[in-house]
Symmetry: C2
């Protein structure tokens, strides 16, 4: 059995707990939290909740630590720190800062002899893998990534920070005609506005100026200004009834040419439709935790990404079973 | 530069030649053939055509040999034989015999210190990879593979063996309603007949009994008896004009559940739309030839499949570039 600990018990941590229940080679031993442990209720009866201050003391009981914090402030500190003691997995998703994060984790992982697999999930993660495979197979081509339909938590949070907003949910929606143009092999050049629209559901304070809120959303730089955005004001009851789930998904497409004169077109498409964004991400984290454990047993150390991991290490099944049943 | 040789110059060998033209780290040195070399015209001016009997003499000039023969009789003999002298890649696609082929290649590769990557292409190959990733991420779920719309060469050949048939082309077509049921997460149980239909275009001899030919096709065991099959008789002119390409493709879907009570459904879908089945397969072979070269340089040997290869080894780009641009 591979002994797993979770650091951080939010949506992602709970998803990891559920994912481990669906394996037969892993056991959840500990959940570590910054909160008072007695206030945190988990679902796994055999696991213990401990304070984060006790984490390093338990290092001999833990094979892999799955770090379930946020990319903004938690992971840049926690992953380089805890890879000094544990094999670790994180879902660091600030694409532009991945090279720095990689270096920070790699340096400490090489010193400790542990494995740290960073940026695991679906984007970065499964989408990245599909971009890499498709680029390697069709070097002469073009990449497209579409997100949604799904809830963007960053955009929902940005709306909630506006004065007079009580709650908000933002859906990112790919533009169907753009998707179809890409699928047809036309290799269109698409602006930000042509690829996605944004649909917002907002609960406003009774006294709030809704016209002003809508204007502030639609003109918000980076988040909304470059998109066609629709704003719908709803009641708190409707928000809870219709918008409490966290679905997401998206599509990665590569369109490429082969042949002596580039006469043939090929389309590779990978898509995800997810009822629960955090639970799917958690399942990917758990598969890579298995790989981290096995790689470290083989004597490897350092920072890795999904690009470095042989797929065979992700599965509970033996290499022989995989060749027989899935190849 | 990685020096590549091709063994066998049919559709697949020509596709490999085209794929190498689209790389900047590989060079085609030799094409080996069973035919008289002077009768084989290739497109790469800098490469030489030689007889297969000269292959082993050239072993010091070749980094990877891409074996482009057929799975029925060529590859079971050639791959285990030539891995004694070369790093080799093949596209062995008789799924049921992969475990035996693996053992035969592995034994000789371990003795010679070379790498042999077998069953490379799209199914087995990219489809297998997607089945493995999706199974590892969603262990609680169900797999579906649909093929087509595309030309099945095995089924076309089977029709051509019928008395009175001059030429034939068979298209495998997935049943749209079955695909949609799978995409909806219903996890349907589908019979062979419910998943695919078969559409045949046949050029018959003027004196042939078309009613009998149609009956023989539709009742042919293994190939057609379990499917809804349509037979269209056409002229040789129409065959040449409308059915000379070799398009193919298909879809791999895994539908799986997550959550403490399996309350959430996720759909992972990977699909290919290929203008040229052999050229796409060739491009996959060439990417894995790069990986074979790199793995062998790292001191590894033995038989491998796509399951064993870290994705990073497939790309011309450096690991740093890949993390920066595709992760």
């Amino acid at each position: 059995m591979i002994n797993i600990a979770i650091l951080g018990y939010g949506n992602l941590g709970r998803g990891v707990e559920c994912a481990i229940k669906n394996t037969s080679d892993m056991k959840l031993c500990y959940v570590f939290t910054r909160r008072a442990p007695e206030t945190v209720k988990i679902m796994t009866e055999s696991a213990k909740v401990c304070h984060i201050d006790d984490l390093i003391n338990k290092k001999d009981e833990i094979d892999v630590l799955i770090i379930c914090g946020g990319s903004a402030t938690d992971l840049p500190v926690q992953t380089p720190e805890y890879v000094k003691y544990f094999n670790v997995i994180d879902s660091f998703d600030t694409h532009a800062k991945i090279p720095d994060h990689f270096e920070n984790v790699n340096k400490n992982a090489l010193m400790s002899g542990k494995i740290g697999i960073i940026s695991v999930g679906w984007d970065p993660g499964m989408f990245s893998l599909n971009r890499l495979y498709a680029n390697a197979v069709l070097p002469n081509g073009q990449d497209y990534t579409f997100w949604g339909k799904g809830v963007s938590q960053g955009h929902s949070d940005a709306i909630r920070r506006i004065d007079g907003v009580i709650d908000a949910r933002q859906y990112t929606v790919p533009v169907e005609s753009a998707l179809n143009a890409v699928r047809s092999g036309e290799n269109p050049t698409l602006t930000t506005r042509q690829k996605h629209t944004r649909i917002c559901f907002v609960v406003a304070d009774d006294n709030a100026d809704k016209v002003l809120i809508e204007k502030q959303i639609k003109e918000m730089p980076n988040y909304f200004a470059d998109y066609d955005t629709t704003v719908n004001f709803i009641t708190m009851e409707e928000m809870k009834r219709e918008h409490s789930a966290l679905p997401h998904g998206g599509t990665v497409i590569r369109s490429g040419k082969t042949g002596w004169e580039n006469e043939n077109t090929h389309i590779i498409e990978y898509s995800l439709k997810l009822d629960s964004n955090p639970e799917f991400t958690s399942n990917v984290l758990v598969a890579y935790a298995r790989a981290a454990y096995r790689l470290n047993k083989q004597g490897e150390s350092g920072c890795k990404t999904v690009f470095d991991i042989p797929p065979v290490l992700l599965s509970e099944k033996t290499p022989e079973e995989l060749r027989m049943n899935l190849l």
